[in-house]
């Protein structure tokens, strides 16, 4: 999501509910994250704005809980269980996703392809 100074920032978002998989003592989500305010944003291949320090999905395990729930590589995680993820360090993001007491994480994600779909459907009117 890029921004134009003076214009409101809009994003098309989707809710994704991931049921964590128990593997012995671990709770697995089945995806990897990259990004964070302490990371170098220019290395992110998924972001539109190379200064975007948000949290992005960098890998999704095949058949894992995340893929099943509809998460895709390149998704930007905006919120986790109501907690903001747009202004967190990498480690803070990891912690918010891997709380032992939570079986389910409800994510709010934004996806470029989603925005395109919405834009196109608006143009067809």
């Amino acid at each position: 999501m890029s921004f134009i100074p003076g214009q409101p920032v809009t994003a098309v978002v989707q809710r994704i509910e991931i049921l964590k998989l128990r593997d012995g003592d671990n709770l697995i989500l089945g995806f990897s994250i990259g990004g964070g305010i302490d990371q170098d944003p220019s290395q992110n291949p998924f972001s539109e704005d190379k200064a975007d320090k948000g949290i992005y999905v960098t890998r999704v395990s095949e058949g894992g809980p995340a893929e099943v729930a509809g998460l895709r590589v390149g998704d930007k995680i905006m919120q986790v269980n109501g907690w903001d993820m747009t202004m967190v360090t990498h480690d803070q993001a990891r912690k918010r996703l891997t709380k032992k007491k939570e079986d389910v994480v409800r994510l709010l994600i934004s996806r470029k392809s989603l925005e395109e779909v919405v834009r196109q459907s608006m143009m067809q009117r």
């Binding site: 697995i28 990897s32 170098d40 990498h90």
Partner: protein, 409 residues
Amino acid sequence: MKKSKSGCDSGLQQSHNKKPKKNHGSTPGTPGQKAEEKSRAVIKDACFSGPERSTNSSCTMQKQHADKKPRSSSQEHLMKTSSAEDEKSDLDLYRGEEEIAEELKKQHQPDSEAVVEAQSSVSAAEDLQTYSEKEWRGNTTKSQLIRKGYEAIASEFRLCRVRGDNYCALRATLFQVLSQSKKLPAWLQDSDIVKWPKELHSDENFLKEWQFPLESKKNNVQHLEQCLDLLKKKWQEAVQCKSLAERERMSQQVFRGLNEEYELLEALKFLMLRTAAQLHLNMEKGSDVPEFCWLLFARDSSKCPKTFLTNHLRHVGFSGGLEQVEMCLLGHSLQQTIKVFRLYKCDTEEFITYYPNDHKNDWPHLVLLTEDDRHYNALIPKKSSRFDEYGRPKWNPPSDGQSNLTTPL
């Protein structure tokens, strides 16, 4: 005893009761001023090696009341008077005429060779807190307010004192351009500014009225062309310096009170004139212009660019400094935002004022300091500043060195 502090905190005293544009008539007829006359002559020779103008020397000393006595510090012939309310202060900041004359006499002899040499017109960087405590002793409300202002910025900046004559606003701005500017502005890169004087002059001999501080064999247009060429060269040189030390050396070379410095200052004045002419044209056409333009041309004495030149701009450096609205014009002409900490406005929303204020986020900042809107000094950011040149916070680099982590969950 009654003392009153003038606005100036360095350089020679300027009147702070009158508007700087008026000709102050610099020769006092009051008796017992012989020592003053002598000291003034010494100072004039010491800091200004150009030709003299009969009444409007750029090292004008202003005296309004016989009991107001300036004191001079030994190094740079700085003149100051202390505040009228400063009676509670324990320290006697008051020095008599005789003491001053004697001191100057002492200096004048051994330094008679030094007088011929160029003197620096911008001091080296110094600590703001120390400066503030030294200059503003005493416990009046004003002293406390000014010291509070200094304290507020002492952790972010250091002070470069600028010679206090009527060029000081331009000089401080020029100094910041040469020592802080990171890139050439678009208008300097895109246009051949050396062509501008001729263009402007072709419209009714606009530049006929121009005054230069130093004589030259060239006519006004050619002289200004030379000034603009020098400005372009120096700005480019500054921006291309590879290290801070190199840059500092380069600025010191310029600010020695010689021809070069005055040509650059006149170049800035020219840019102001040209911009004023353009803005006036736009105003007449009905196009959008920045707010300050209305104020600039609302004054009876400068209803149009020609009168602006005749009544205001041509006197800048001689008998007057820059008014606030003219500071906006200066910033606008250079496409830089002149950010001024105005210490006497500490505790109000005008403590920091931007000239102009409509491009705070996209034009680079040149930071100045004034105690009274009359004399301007330059502020150099301290290296540990947490803010970049636009006033935005700088991010800390990642501490563990890993900057593109991907974590499986």
